[in-house]
């Protein structure tokens, strides 16, 4: 039950993009088309889950026993960067269609603050291993949800007559604001 709560809390109530502002760069940059936004969401979810597992292990197996907490940020970012690199090579080797779908997005994920944010939140909230995995899956699903909805709205916006100063980033931010208001409707649903 606890695990389901963590999942929904990360996916909907405390959505990474709309409540914590993590992963705004891809959220604004890659939300032009539904198909690419969805692929980006899937790639991010995948890296998030793997990163949650690996950083949890590193933090609790290496950094804490040897009193090296101060290396937390340096080691996390290194792990995430090499992980993304590794995932890219692995996907390329195993599945060509998947690589073609996700390929160009994978390098972008390194600088996605949602991944490092996830690793930091797991440490901050003292989740255990299983809880950490569920939190990672929830955060990834939430990110996919937000970026896909946003892409859907932006596809419609292409047809709209937007005033010139509002074109590009401003209208995207305003739409995101309205989306955040909509997601606020879920707050109070779960208090985690």
């Amino acid at each position: 039950m606890e695990l389901i709560l963590i999942f929904f809390s990360a996916a909907i109530v405390n959505n990474f993009v709309l409540a914590y502002f993590l992963g705004i760069c891809p959220f604004i940059g890659v939300s032009n088309k539904i198909s690419s936004a969805f692929s980006m969401g899937l790639a991010t979810t995948f890296v998030m889950v793997v990163a949650a597992i690996v950083t949890w292990l590193i933090y609790h197996m290496i950094l804490v026993p040897f009193n090296l907490d101060f290396l937390q940020y340096v080691s996390f970012i290194l792990v995430i960067a090499s992980l993304v690199q590794f995932v890219e090579m692995f996907v390329k080797k195993v599945s060509q269609p998947l690589y073609r779908a996700l390929g160009i997005f994978l390098p972008l994920i390194t600088t996605n603050c949602a991944i490092l944010g996830l690793a930091l939140f797991i440490v901050l909230r003292e989740y255990n291993f299983i809880e950490g995995i569920f939190y990672g899956v929830g955060a990834g699903v939430g990110f996919t949800l937000a970026i896909t909805i946003m892409a859907g709205i932006r596809e419609e916006l292409e047809l709209a007559d937007i005033p010139k100063p509002l074109q590009g980033a401003p209208i995207t931010l305003i739409v995101a604001g309205i989306l955040a208001l909509a997601f606020m409707g879920f707050s109070g649903l779960i208090s985690v």
Binding site: V74, L166, L173, G177
Partner: protein
């Protein structure tokens, strides 16, 4: 370019012309997340500026030693080191601020503004120029965060830097201190600055067209067209 004016320009271009937030749309995560109040915005911007300036100095001075294949990883390592310093100092000296900024201080590591400046500027320019460029970008970031935080604090909780600005009968807009308020405020501010820039550009082109019409060269162009 090597004149004194060039150095001044490296600093001032970050303030408005290439403002990291309003013009380049970089570093959005901390911009939106911490600007619930003006003081948070200032603290965040100062921390970012510190990291930006020192990593720019280090990277520009070792730029010829780093092989280009591993440059991004090396940049991130250098940046992460300075972020760790900032985080430890803030935890020791300003525990309240550190608590209210929470995980967004460590997240400076992945702030695309910092990595972007290293890739676009420090890896190609000397130490002094890179330091000035970083300082300018940091100041531009500070201006943006202070404006955003100030507006949100005044409208959302009646105060600015903790002093009451709005009268008591003013009902604070709760939405401004919620996440939605951050998106809306920044979107509207960007639109406003864009409209100023568009107007300025229009005036400039009008002026040039006017001058062209007066000169003889314009007549030949018109005839040619």
């Amino acid at each position: 370019m090597k004149s004194k004016l060039g150095f001044v320009k490296e600093y001032t271009k970050g303030l408005w012309e290439n403002n990291p937030v309003f013009k380049q749309v970089l570093g959005m995560c901390p911009t939106l997340a911490v600007t619930v109040s003006a003081i948070n915005g200032i603290a965040m911007a100062l921390a970012t500026t510190f990291v930006l300036v020192f990593s720019s100095i280090i990277i520009s001075s070792v730029r010829k030693l780093i092989p280009s294949q591993v440059r991004i990883a090396s940049y991130i390592l250098i940046i992460a080191t300075f972020v760790t310093i900032v985080d430890l100092v803030m935890k020791a000296q300003f525990p309240d601020l550190s608590k209210s900024l929470g995980p967004y201080i460590p997240l400076i590591v992945v702030n695309c503004l910092i990595l972007g400046r290293q890739e676009a500027f420090s890896s190609k320019n000397g130490v002094l120029r890179s330091a000035l460029d970083a300082l300018g970008m940091g100041t531009g970031f500070l201006i943006a965060l202070f404006m955003l935080g100030g507006i949100r604090e005044i409208l959302g909780s009646r105060t600015l830097l903790g002093f009451q600005i709005m009268p008591d009968f003013y009902e604070p807009w709760l939405v401004m201190i919620l996440p939605a308020g951050a998106f809306l405020t920044l979107g509207l501010m960007m639109a406003y600055f864009n409209s100023i820039a568009i107007n300025m550009k229009k005036k400039e082109t009008d002026k040039i067209i006017e001058q062209y019409k007066k000169s003889k060269a314009a007549k030949t162009i018109e005839a040619g067209a």
